[in-house]
């Protein structure tokens, strides 16, 4: 294993190259741009035998991916924020056609007001689209999850598209040591794309047709079942991934000092790094705090969450998104997962639009949760309200 210091976006572009997509189609948007520029160069330099399509919008980007995937090729796109919002129609469409498309999401806030900085509102907004959603804590996870996602999505028992989510700027633009796997290993894990079905004039089929009221409900049921099945597929291939690459992804939720924790923090993405550092300091002061890192938001691993949190006294959920008028999307799920347990679940909406979250914020949140104060926007600047 050779570690190399690389920018997250470049590491992702190089990893996508290793996955050998045949068509890449994307529209630039901050902070995803370095990924697509990297891929454009990789294709132009002949380091990947693929078509790179300079489309005119995100809507076209994913539409072109749908066409290419339906025609039987492995495809890739990446976007964020406004780009994902613009794609919405085809996000649902591609999932309904059960096309195994992998798309990187450099998580960013949503307009208006305009913000190019990080939170997770963009991918959360596509919660109900029927795509798998994986969340990376660091850039190594971001690249590993790209490889894993293709494996899971292309399984004939799954056939779903997937978002690989990584926090914009915080991960996409940060240089970290990366173990970029070899082409041989990636080839041995993924193999060539073997479509379950494809457009083929010799054996014509049609994608995306009308489903009358006698069939629509069943289509949705089957789709839902597939997303649920994806949980076991991720575990199975995540384990296999560990055996080949030395990093295990057989768990959808990962605990940190959680075994004997009295207070558990639940979080997704790069914030988990900060939380772990804060936990180390709190542990040194004798506080029994642990973390549950949610690697996978769709399918939502309710049973795993309930099991992992069964012994704690208090749960503090960090949400970098908000379902306005309700709660953070993660907290809603955690409450559902813990239903019947009597463990209080407190929600903290924080870090929106790039607001920094520091170790002392995490400690403050633990104090609030232990006092029973939660379900709030954390860190509001009262003076500007």
């Amino acid at each position: 294993m050779t570690m190399e210091i690389m920018e997250g976006s470049i590491a992702i572009a190089e990893t996508v190259r290793l996955c050998r997509p045949q068509v890449i189609s994307a529209y630039p948007i901050t902070p995803q741009t370095h990924i697509v520029e990297g891929l454009a160069s990789i294709v132009a330099d002949g380091r990947l035998d693929a078509e790179y399509i300079c489309v005119e919008s995100e809507f076209s980007a994913l539409s072109a991916c749908i066409g290419a995937s339906a025609a039987g090729s492995r495809v890739y796109s990446a976007t964020t924020s406004q780009g994902l919002a613009l794609m919405a129609e085809v996000v649902f469409n591609s999932a309904g056609m059960r096309l195994p498309i992998v798309m990187g999401i450099a998580n960013r806030a949503i307009s208006a007001p305009l913000s190019i900085w990080n939170d997770q509102q963009d991918s959360i907004m596509m919660r109900d689209s029927g795509w798998i959603q994986l969340y990376a804590e660091d850039n190594q996870e971001a690249i590993d999850m790209h490889i894993l996602a293709y494996k899971v999505c292309e399984d004939h028992n799954i056939l779903l598209p997937a978002f690989v989510c990584f926090d914009g700027f915080i991960l996409s633009h940060v240089y970290e040591p990366i173990d970029l796997p070899s082409q041989e290993l990636v080839d041995s894990f993924l193999g060539p794309f073997n479509p379950y079905q494809k457009l083929d004039a010799k054996d014509p089929i049609s994608f995306g047709m009308y489903a009358t009221p006698e069939y629509y409900l069943e289509f949705r049921y089957e789709h839902d079942q597939a997303v649920k099945r994806a949980a076991d597929a991720i575990k199975k291939y995540g384990k296999e991934f560990g055996e080949i690459f030395g990093r295990d992804y057989s768990e959808l939720v990962v605990g940190y000092k959680l075994e004997d924790a009295e207070t558990a923090i639940v979080a997704m993405g790069s914030i988990c790094g900060t939380v772990k550092d804060a936990i180390d300091e709190m542990r040194a002061e004798g506080k029994k705090v642990g973390l549950l890192n949610l690697r996978c938001f769709r399918p939502f691993p309710s049973t795993d969450v309930a099991k992992a949190l069964a012994h704690v006294n208090t749960i503090a959920v960090l949400d970098k998104n908000v379902s306005l008028g309700a709660k953070g999307a993660v907290a809603i799920e955690i409450k559902e997962a813990c239903y019947g347990s009597n463990i209080p679940v407190y929600d903290y909406i924080l870090g929106l639009g790039g607001r920094d979250v520091r170790k002392r914020d995490i400690k403050k949140i633990v104090e609030l949760a232990e006092k029973g104060e939660g379900d709030m926007f954390y860190g509001l600047r009262e003076e500007v309200l």
Binding site: Y27, V36, A44
Partner: protein, 264 residues
């Protein structure tokens, strides 16, 4: 009012790079508005997203900074509710012809009574210089590292064919002519489209052998061919050389516009 009053002082200094042509175009626009003696409360600037689209935020009257590509659709709504309002749209080559291309052709087809100023720097400037539908064939961008292999749009031809009442092209070098064209555009009922070739030294010039801002301005001066001359050459059967482009007024007509208050 004088020119300075049209600037929103609390937003200055602007974010444009040194040598960027967008400031010149904003200046020309505000000068034309000032010459026509428009009132602030009668004037609204609307834009999409991009360096060019930041211009709307620097004006002191009402402005609507919309989403990428959609300025013309927002402007259509506003104009139909307030037909007396002078509606001016700032857009970029990407905003107008890539992600917003459909709104562009339909706004021209409806011939809605607004003035559109497209700052064409041949690139997606704001996001770091990726190729746009106006990146010239062979030009280098971050997504076309060995040269663009697709043909660019001629935005003026698109606007004219789609139905705009007034269509002109100038450059950030031709300050006087540009100001005059914007003034005429503002006075012409229906959609007025003014394309302005402009320099993005940061993301376009630097990659295309025009590192100095002055090289780009020289290029605009040397390669711009007046419409009348281009027409004379064409009549004589002289083929235009590929690096040249035509400037001037392409069309000014009086087709029925949308969004002009009917005389009572």
């Amino acid at each position: 009012m004088n020119l300075e009053d049209w600037y929103r002082q609390d937003r200055l200094p602007h974010i444009y790079c040194a040598g960027c042509g967008n400031g010149t175009i904003l200046n020309c626009t505000l000068r034309a508005v000032e010459e026509l003696d428009y009132k602030k409360e009668e004037t609204t600037f609307i834009s999409g997203i991009g360096c060019s689209s930041r211009a709307a935020g620097y004006t002191s009257s009402d402005s609507l900074h919309t989403t990428h590509g959609r300025a013309l659709a927002f402007a259509t709504g506003l104009k139909l509710v307030k037909p007396r309002q002078h509606v001016i749209v700032f857009t970029g080559d990407g905003d107008c012809s890539a992600i917003g291309g459909n709104h562009f052709i339909h706004a021209c087809r409806r011939n809605i009574d607004i003035t559109v100023i497209c700052m064409n720097n041949n690139i997606y400037g704001m996001t770091g210089g990726q190729g746009s539908p106006c990146t010239p064939y062979g030009a280098i961008s971050t997504t076309t590292p060995y040269g663009m292999q697709e043909q660019p749009f001629d935005l003026c031809k698109v606007a004219e064919a789609a139905g705009a009442n007034y269509v002109a092209r100038w450059t950030s070098f031709h300050v006087k002519e540009l100001t005059e064209a914007i003034r005429v555009g503002l006075e012409t009922p229906g959609l007025s489209f003014i394309e302005v070739m402009t320099q993005c030294p940061t993301s376009f010039g630097s990659k295309n052998k025009m590192r100095q801002v002055t090289q780009m301005l020289d290029m605009f001066r040397d390669n711009a061919v007046l419409k009348a001359k281009a027409d004379r050459d064409a009549a004589k059967g002289i083929l235009p050389s590929p690096e040249k482009f035509v400037v001037g007024q392409f069309v000014r007509r009086n087709n029925p516009p949308l969004g002009v208050e009917a005389a009572k």
